[in-house]
């Protein structure tokens, strides 16, 4: 999905999910909200893991009981041992249902295994600290959003179609909670609203080389030995938007794009630079355009794009 922004350019989906937060230091940081699909996927993975954990625990306990030769009719110490196993089972299921999300989201990574796999995590909506209370609050509400509807759906399925009116109403009621992430702009679920949290993408990025330090950016071209120099009027035709586009082209480094862009710039500034040395030409132009624009910035003049 994409929509047109105020400038008329196409705004990609990730751009529309972008939100700005101000940290306590007063620095505005961009956050990209996790897509609803990623969150649904994360929950599915977590539920699967929880289910697997419960099954494994049950099997381990049954195996232990069998290995010890315990059965339900025993009295005395053996009966007590069986009871102890039953207690362990009840507690394990309770913990799996309630503590799974809690324990993982309280860790330093702020994400359950499902979230981590899909590269998302939780954060405080106000830019402040993510508190323990907030994590507890958002996960207590999960019960009515996830487990209760599942219980209802399971009930409806097992009764085989002749569910009564109350059953359907209950289902609709809980469906409302499940649908909550679709009913608001920030894809908040009920738990997020109560806790003051949201789910964002945990971005990672590698630092690219500074283009203005490489190749022909500062000196003569390696192939032709020519040093490209541009005058102020040749540099003032473009703005920051074009500079960024040029940066992307240089990083992608595809021969035909380089040729095309070099030809466009030559046409615009009235040069005829000849073929074969486009990369050096563009590196030099990029560096000098950046120097030109940054000098303007220092004096408080910014040029957003070529129309500005």
């Amino acid at each position: 999905m994409s929509a047109r922004g105020a400038t008329g350019r196409i705004v990609p989906d990730a751009e529309r999910r972008k939100r700005w937060l101000t940290t306590p230091e007063g620095v505005a940081l961009p956050f990209v909200l996790a897509s609803r699909g990623a969150r649904a996927g994360a929950v599915a993975i977590d539920l699967f893991l929880i289910g697997a954990a419960i099954v494994l625990t049950t099997m381990a306990l049954l195996w232990t009981a069998q290995g010890l030769g315990l059965n339900a009719n025993l009295k005395g110490p053996a009966g007590h041992a069986l009871q102890a196993l039953a207690i362990v089972w009840f507690l394990a299921v309770f913990l799996a249902r309630n503590a799974w999300f809690l324990a993982f989201e309280l860790g330093p990574r702020g994400a359950t295994p499902g979230k981590r796999l899909l590269g998302i995590r939780i954060a405080a909506r106000d830019g402040g600290r993510l508190t323990t209370e907030a994590v507890i609050a958002r996960n207590l509400v999960r019960d009515i959003e996830l487990f209760m509807p599942l219980v209802f759906i399971g009930g409806a399925a097992s009764s085989g179609g002749d569910t009564d009116v109350a059953g359907w109403m209950g289902l609709g009621w809980f469906a409302l909670f499940m649908a909550m992430p679709f009913l608001n702009r920030d894809a908040l679920r009920c738990g997020d609203m109560i806790a003051g949290t949201w789910v964002v993408e945990a971005q990672k990025r590698k630092l690219g080389q500074a283009l203005s330090l490489a190749g022909a950016a500062a000196g003569p071209s390696a192939t032709t030995g020519v040093t490209y120099r541009f005058g102020p009027e040749e540099l003032s035709v473009y703005g920051e938007y074009e500079l960024q586009a040029l940066e992307r082209v240089l990083r992608e480094n595809r021969a035909e794009t380089l040729e095309e862009v070099a030809a466009t710039i030559c046409g615009k500034i009235g040069w005829s630079a000849g073929a074969g040395d486009e990369r050096a030409f563009l590196e030099a132009y990029y560096t000098q355009l950046r120097a030109h624009l940054e000098r303007g910035m220092r004096f408080g003049r910014r040029k957003a794009d070529k129309f500005a």
């Binding site: 989201e105 994590v135 207590l140």
Partner: protein
């Protein structure tokens, strides 16, 4: 900030001369800015990367101490870069790095144990006291629910079956002997501890539901409270009919003072959230909900703890104390303990 930068660079022990040469070569002022600081940024990235991979323990103390300083330095470098540099790759990367470091610095405080100590040592009581009005409303609702249950059943005993699901021997028309047997003489019963675990997990789920339903402006929470206490009212009516009220109260009081208290708090927590959503006052609805939710979450953690205590009492203490008077004494003592701990005992004031 630059003094701090020098210090950090010193800790790093990188080849300062080599860096200086590269800085000299750079033509652009913004590139010199970048080259001078890149070492610190890379160190922050490495520390944050370790934390993200869950290797908190492997970080050296030096690195952990340096983290907040490096984070602030990087955040301020980001502000400067936005105003002076058009190196988009750098600005984007700094944004991501600052964000990742922000997660590490402002993430949940590590150490659930320490949080729990603060919680038990006063935090719980503070949270409970801060939702006082909601506790009063929930208490009134529970009293009304009990009375309604009694009145419904006494006007038409058929209501009893509607209120109490599952037919056991406790039903209208049961003889005094049958009812008495349900209250006394179960001390040698087996399977008590399993019963306790089951009770706990069941009650905890109900109280979590009561809290979570507070999200719908608190109305379902009230209904749930009424429904649960109506059962209590119906039970009271049943035993009253055979002159066993006192005995029933004793039977209930052992664990009921804890359990009903916990349900009261869970309902109050739900109401607190519901009230904040319905009547946010001057704040935005979401802000009000978040503030109330965090407070109520503390109360709810306590509720789960109380329910563990209640289940233990129900399964062991009640069956082991086989007479009304000791049961009442234990129940009253525990009630006094909870009230004293949650409402009277204050610390750090």
């Amino acid at each position: 900030m630059s003094a701090l930068g020098d210090k950090l660079a010193g800790w790093l022990g990188r080849g300062a001369a080599e860096d200086a040469a590269r800085v000299e070569e750079a033509a652009l002022r913004s590139d010199r800015f970048r080259l001078e600081r890149e070492g610190d940024w890379k160190r922050l990235e490495q520390i944050v990367g370790q934390i993200e991979r869950g290797r908190l323990k492997r970080l050296s103390d030096e690195d952990l101490l340096a983290l907040p300083g490096l984070y602030r330095m990087t955040a301020s470098a980001l502000s400067i870069a936005r105003e002076t540099s058009l190196d988009q790759a750098l600005v984007d990367w700094l944004e991501t790095l600052t964000q990742r470091a922000w997660f590490a610095v402002y993430g949940p405080r590590a150490g659930l144990g320490r949080w729990l100590r603060g919680f038990l040592g006063g935090g719980w009581g503070r949270a409970v006291r801060s939702i006082g009005p909601d506790i009063v409303i929930a208490l009134l609702t529970m009293v009304v629910g009990t009375v309604v249950g009694w009145l419904l059943v006494s006007s038409n005993p058929d209501w009893f079956y509607a209120l109490m699901p599952g037919g056991d021997e406790r039903q209208p028309g049961a003889s005094r002997a049958v009812l008495e047997r349900t209250l006394f003489g179960n001390a040698d019963q087996d399977g008590l501890s399993v019963f306790a675990a089951m009770l706990f997990s069941n009650n905890a789920q109900v109280s979590i539901l009561a809290f979570a339903l507070g999200f719908a402006c608190g109305v379902p929470t009230l209904l749930l409270l009424v429904q649960n206490t109506a059962m209590l009212g119906a039970l009271l009516w049943l035993y009253h009919g055979q002159g066993l009220t006192f005995e029933l109260v004793g039977w209930l009081s052992v664990h009921g003072t804890t359990e009903l208290f916990a349900i009261l708090l869970a309902g109050a927590a739900g109401l607190h959230v519901g009230r904040a959503i319905a009547f946010p006052g001057n704040r935005a609805v979401l802000d009000a909900a978040a503030e109330a939710g965090r407070r109520a979450a503390l109360v709810m953690t306590g509720v789960v703890l109380m329910l563990i205590v209640a289940a233990l009492l129900e399964a062991f203490a009640r069956q082991l104390l086989d007479a009304t008077l000791p049961r009442l004494v234990v129940g009253a003592f525990i009630l006094v303990f909870w009230i004293g701990y949650l409402f009277v005992w204050r610390r750090g004031r």
